[in-house]
């Protein structure tokens, strides 16, 4: 199995790295996304992630397959959280392994950029004085 896609409550960078490491890959790139403690200067208390999980898994799978078919990735893990998260918590992890580093870097960039555009997951930010679904309005 060369692709691991998952959406769950807790994820770690280490489990993604462990999955992709393989002797025929000399380059492993890792992207870790975490909860920022402020948005536009306003302190963020917590985040809530809602997922349309069955479709999100399909969209993540498309991303993974693109990195393998087009970018030349051997193994990739894309993990995302759901539920409530606090500042500093890991919310997304992408680990990509390739024979050489260029493809690994490119795959991480492609995967996180595409995830943010296409994967049906929504983030609500909770501030001291209210809450807002991120990027919902123009």
């Amino acid at each position: 199995m060369d692709v691991w896609i998952d959406i769950k409550e807790h994820i770690t960078a280490q489990e993604a790295l462990d999955f992709v490491q393989t002797p025929d890959c000399g380059g492993v790139a890792l992207f870790v996304g975490a909860v920022r403690n402020a948005t536009k200067g306003k302190p963020v208390r917590q985040l809530f992630f809602e997922c349309y999980t069955p479709m999100a898994l399909l969209e993540l799978e498309k991303i993974a397959q693109h990195t393998r078919a087009v970018i030349g990735i051997k193994k990739i893990a894309i993990l995302h959280v759901s539920g409530n998260k606090l500042p500093g918590d890991t919310v997304v992890v992408i680990a990509a392994a390739a024979p050489h580093r260029a493809a690994a870097f490119e795959a991480c960039q492609y995967a996180i950029d595409t995830l943010k555009e296409t994967v049906p997951i929504w983030k609500k930010e909770f501030f001291e004085d209210g809450e807002v679904w991120v990027a919902a309005h123009p």
Binding site: M55, I121, W122, A136, H137
Partner: protein
């Protein structure tokens, strides 16, 4: 094109299976006030569903985008809808 006018169908006895269950997420769920809604009007295409939703929930128009997914795949406005399809309203995504 002859589309199903409500008047034409209303004379017929109980038509089943025109109802559609529509899943809502994120801010769309908040606007509708429910995680899913039932639509009983026969809507043949995504465009008709979109208009129905905008009429029922005008605040959806204020969003940066509203995508419709049919059977877990993004659908264009001209895509056909069938009874039993899994339909979802996808407001602007913000994962990662």
């Amino acid at each position: 094109m002859h589309t199903a006018g409500n008047a034409g169908y209303s004379a017929l006895p109980a038509i089943e299976a025109t109802g559609m269950k529509i899943l809502l997420f994120g801010i769309a769920k908040d606007i509708a006030g429910a995680p899913f809604i039932q639509v009983d009007a026969p809507l043949a295409r995504v465009a008709a569903l979109r208009e129905h939703l905008y009429t029922q929930y005008p605040r959806l128009r204020e969003l940066r985008s509203v995508m419709i997914a049919v059977n877990k795949v993004y659908a264009t406005d001209d895509a056909a809808l069938q009874p039993g399809d899994e339909i979802a309203v996808i407001p602007p995504v913000s994962g990662g």
